[in-house]
Symmetry: C4
Subunit: 388 residues, 4 copies
């Protein structure tokens, strides 16, 4: 979307994964301050996004949403001011449905009123969900029309508001969201599990009639693989919030997760209990080399191959350096060595297969020297090697 | 649907499976009295639902449906009165089509007239079918619009009428019915067979372009597995009427059938010849522990895994007890022992895997003592173990 | 469709398979006379249907279709008169598109004019094709609307005209055609080949986005298997014209073809060079026992099972006899013996499995005596046993 | 489309594969002159097509597209004049979207203005792309309507403009484009690779929700196989531009590519750096026997079979000669001998299997003598034998 926002994928933090509906001014401001204190903002994490459950269950007499005065005694505008005072952006949540997913009032048929209110509250970002959409899906056109109403309403406010669509990949948003939104979710909701089939996330494929939730990291990566071609400046595939810092994913799995999210240019929205960020979590989330793949001069990453126990992902730089990032995922059940032939790295560039390259490991920071013809790397179980 | 009805899945009895089109005042009142006499109502079975074939083949001169005066010499209102006098609710049937499935007049284009008539007759419940729908399907929006007309017409009558949608899962009603109906069928019609492919029910999957009929118990269970996430208070997936007490299903199969219907919060609508209820049928249908999974403080059950010969289903309590119901289906061809690891029971709750639990068998009522790390159960062929 | 026609599936002869576009008054009248002379009409073959290529390439100044005066020097009305004089019905062809499949003018947007003209010409039957439909497909509703316009136009003429829809099964016509048409094609065009994959008929399934042509007999049978449940009086699945009497299918294959077409209640429209009907062709097409399965008191046949080399098809009588027709297809590569268990014949009727039945072979007319528990039959390669 | 154009599939050259966005008057005129100098026009290559990136990023005040005056100092009309002076046709590019794929202004909602401008500039050909289409896809009807607007606008100009639709096969254009366009792309974009799965072209099938790019030669051939039946005079399946003369495809692969594109009657649009055409490239692209399969009296080719390592393609002549072209693709990994039975060549013509045929190799020009019953050919790895 051509609104000057999300020129690189947005970065920030969202309330949902840690607090779900238990949010209030204190939790959100506390998180914002923790983000600032840990200097996450200096790495690009800019938005503090308040997810579902912030409103009352009824609109007011003139049809406007009302914040819950118990949770927000000084109001949302005040909260936004405080967050702005920290130099951060403030994100808001609603749904393109009759209700939000938590069954608070949704914005369907109230788009202009709600956009006006959000602008009045100095909101910088809208996550716009898909629950209870009154059957308004089934063709790209039906879904486009529903989400376009809010896009136009946001534009009309005059305030630049990053528009983060969340329709779970229904009706192929990668085909039609780029002109109306800054990002679009491309799958069901993530869960903090590395790789597991779950009936609640029943699809293996990016075309899916029941996106669901409890989608594992590898499930989302596999769905995202063909979609990178649809992303560009201001218009990104959203693979859902980060599970880094939440329990259950080990160190290797978290690095893999962060690497691929960066390479495919997904928004990088943290979801952990930021007020209790561990050193390891901090280390992963602030790896400058990885963040550079997301925010620096790099194209959208894509997958070169998928084998039973490994995947090779590639990302071309867009400066004139001819640099390339190469990530080897080990999704098998043991640590292993992998040899990557240059024919799989330089898929369509035959001349580049013939020269040698200096390789650096972006996680260990180790210099691997000059490599020719093929690259051999040790990768831990559920880990990733990423070099450039 | 937010009409105050079906706060738990509705329970009752329906004429179709035993009587099909051979209904009249005597058969229905006889069934209602039998229900009362056997005290089914004390277990929650409240609605007596009259299915297809109650009307004449023509509407009257002003466009209203007419009951068949041979079958109902004292009229439908009288029948409703008698059923109400027994303390039961009265259910009615029509179809969102030109004809009902039995080719009597359907309600398509006559929704307001028909809803008004049903309200005038003191109807408490409408099963609304899908035959002869004039091509009004193919996207969620087309189907939503067709069923929403009747939803609005029922609401407009002012009388609370439970709205039981029956479009066989076409166009993913779990996505759009929750705001307009109390329940929605999610598959083709059930048959009293445990597990069989039948060309008349050709789909294995919840996305299906020919729902059909003669769908076996296991066929419906497999289709229902991913859908539980879409149900909530007042809005339930309907797996179709119960085949308990009909011939062909053995004791084990019937207990399995009843257990899963309860756990996934399907309406529990009996379909057997209630005037000739056997002791075994009565025992199954009135198991208080199982009925509690449907009507008590429990979330919607979901499947943890599906293996070749078994499935594990789980259901969390919604009181603060931390209780969990665990059902192991043996759909293999012989009695067998099954060991269930706690990692499959506490999928996303790692801490809970470490403690021990008191387990009770909900069918035998046997106390299995405290179990740690894993649970081992003997399950008969086509049977179920369910404990909590 | 409730127009009093096709109470049993229509029978007749169509020009296409033998003559394609090379039709004229002589060929059609010659065929009609041959039909009469061979007494096909006494077996139920009533309609002589003129397929594509009868018109000029332009409508006249007032927008009416014009017959080709070279092919029909005395006009279509005259042809209809002659056919009526033989006691036969006359069928006409058009397409619900801009052009017919042979690229003559189609009826899309001209439905009323064309229906009026057909009625004026005393047409008794309309085969209505699907070529060049201007994208008017993709949901049942779009297709329904397109075909409903002609249905209404035909009704409005006041003349009973059998409406034979031919949209190749697109958008599931079995769901919406029964209220507007007497029959609907459910697949791509047939070819005179028993069983062969052909890229021009690429689907194996009844849900198909490219129905095509060159569909083999077994391809169509497999697609038709789940659809019988949708047919009823006046509303039939059409498996396409008969290939009996055309080269390439052997005697066994032709009997199998005719048997299943009769059992599933497809229209029985001959397509061979009727003026040169062989004795064998005559024998097959006039087997009274088989025709009775189509035209007599029998329900719509359905498939009990499909194995690698055989299929079992069943058909219940609708008189009170309790009779059942049982057909065993041998689609393997050699003659073989097959034993059919009663559990596969009486799928849902457990009591009937216990008694013995008198069986007659409907092709050899042989009496097989009383059979109990199971039925063993010898069936030639690509042949069928059908008994009752 | 019945506009008198593309009576045989169009031939020519397009800027994209060599120059992408780096086009200007010099490059295009240089290419046109090279085409003329190498006498490609004498073989049928008539159109010089300017692809994306010719315009400014804004329309003018009255809503008309503006050419980039830096790239085209003398304007597009002048360029067209120069190309016409060479006896060639001039092709233009736009997209049925808000933007072109290169994010220049698209023609959606501006169809009449743009068609008028193109006609004024004496454009002979329009390639009309599919990027940023605002969700206007999902059913054949939605896509038809979007592309029909431009078809009507072009017709209205009075200038014959060949209409080359490029919607990548979405919504089955082969079903609805024949009445509104001269050709339609049937897949994602081609890449100069013989046979490779690529995530950016994720579909194997002609029904595809993400056509993408980087589709290999064999990927496109396999998708095209069932579609030939939909093509006819003035209305062709477009398999995308030729990769002949680009690096990476070897001599055998290029001959195979050119042979099948000709046999299936795809437009033959060169994409190589025509100013630096090698002798081999010239030899392939000017093989008169192969070009005759595209432009001469031949039907649309189709595939007789697909095996693991080979495919047999057939093409009937439409003169009365009874001639047939037979192509055997070796897509296995080594040179091999293949024996082709006449039953696979004369699929539905049993009599023709019995006689002998004179066979000529259309690439080596070798006479293979008279062949009976079967044809044995040596075919190199990734090569093709084509004879007639």
């Amino acid at each position: 979307m051509d609104n000057g926002l999300a020129l690189n994928p947005q970065m920030g933090w969202n309330t949902w994964n840690t607090f779900a509906c238990n949010i209030n001014e204190d939790t959100i401001l506390g998180a914002a301050k923790a983000l600032k204190k840990l200097k996450f903002d200096e790495y690009g994490y800019h938005y503090v996004v308040m997810d579902d459950c912030w409103s009352l269950h009824e609109r007011n007499a003139t049809g406007y949403l009302q914040y819950d005065p118990v949770k927000f005694p000084r109001g949302i505008k005040h909260l936004a001011d405080e967050i702005h005072a920290l130099g951060l952006g403030f994100g808001m949540y609603s749904s393109a449905g009759k209700y939000t997913c938590g069954r608070y009032p949704g914005s369907l048929s109230f788009e202009e009123k709600d956009a006006d209110l959000f602008a009045e509250w100095d909101v910088d970002y809208l996550k716009y969900d898909n629950c209870f959409n009154e059957g308004q899906s089934g063709t790209p056109l039906i879904s486009f029309n529903r989400y376009d109403v809010m896009s136009k309403a946001l534009n009309k406010t005059g305030r630049p508001i990053l528009y983060s669509m969340c329709n779970w990949g229904e009706d192929s948003p990668w085909d039609w969201a780029p002109t109306i939104a800054n990002s679009w979710r491309m799958s069901g909701d993530i869960v903090n599990v590395f790789d597991r089939y779950d009936d609640r996330c029943p699809c293996d494929d990016y075309i899916c009639r029941l996106p669901g939730h409890h989608c594992s990291i590898m499930n989302i990566i596999n769905k995202a693989a063909p979609l990178g071609q649809k992303a560009h400046t201001g218009a990104w595939n959203d693979l859902d919030m980060l599970e880094i810092g939440n329990e259950n994913l080990n160190y290797e799995e978290q690095k893999l997760h962060f690497t691929i999210w960066a390479m495919v240019k997904s928004p990088l929205i943290m979801g952990h209990d930021i007020m209790h960020t561990s050193d390891q979590t901090l280390e992963i989330l602030t790896n400058k080399d990885i963040i550079d793949l997301s925010q620096g001069k790099w194209g959208v990453g894509f997958r070169s191959y998928k084998k039973e126990h490994s995947q090779l992902w590639l990302q071309d730089s867009t400066d004139k350096s001819g640099n390339m990032a190469v990530a080897l995922i080990n999704n098998g059940d043991k640590d292993d060595d992998f040899t990557i032939g240059f024919e799989d790295i330089f898929l369509d560039e035959w001349d580049r297969r013939k020269v040698g390259y200096q390789v650096k490991d972006l996680w260990t920071k180790e210099d691997l020297g000059v490599v020719k013809d093929e690259l051999t790397v040790k990768v831990k179980r559920h880990g990733v090697f990423v070099g450039k």
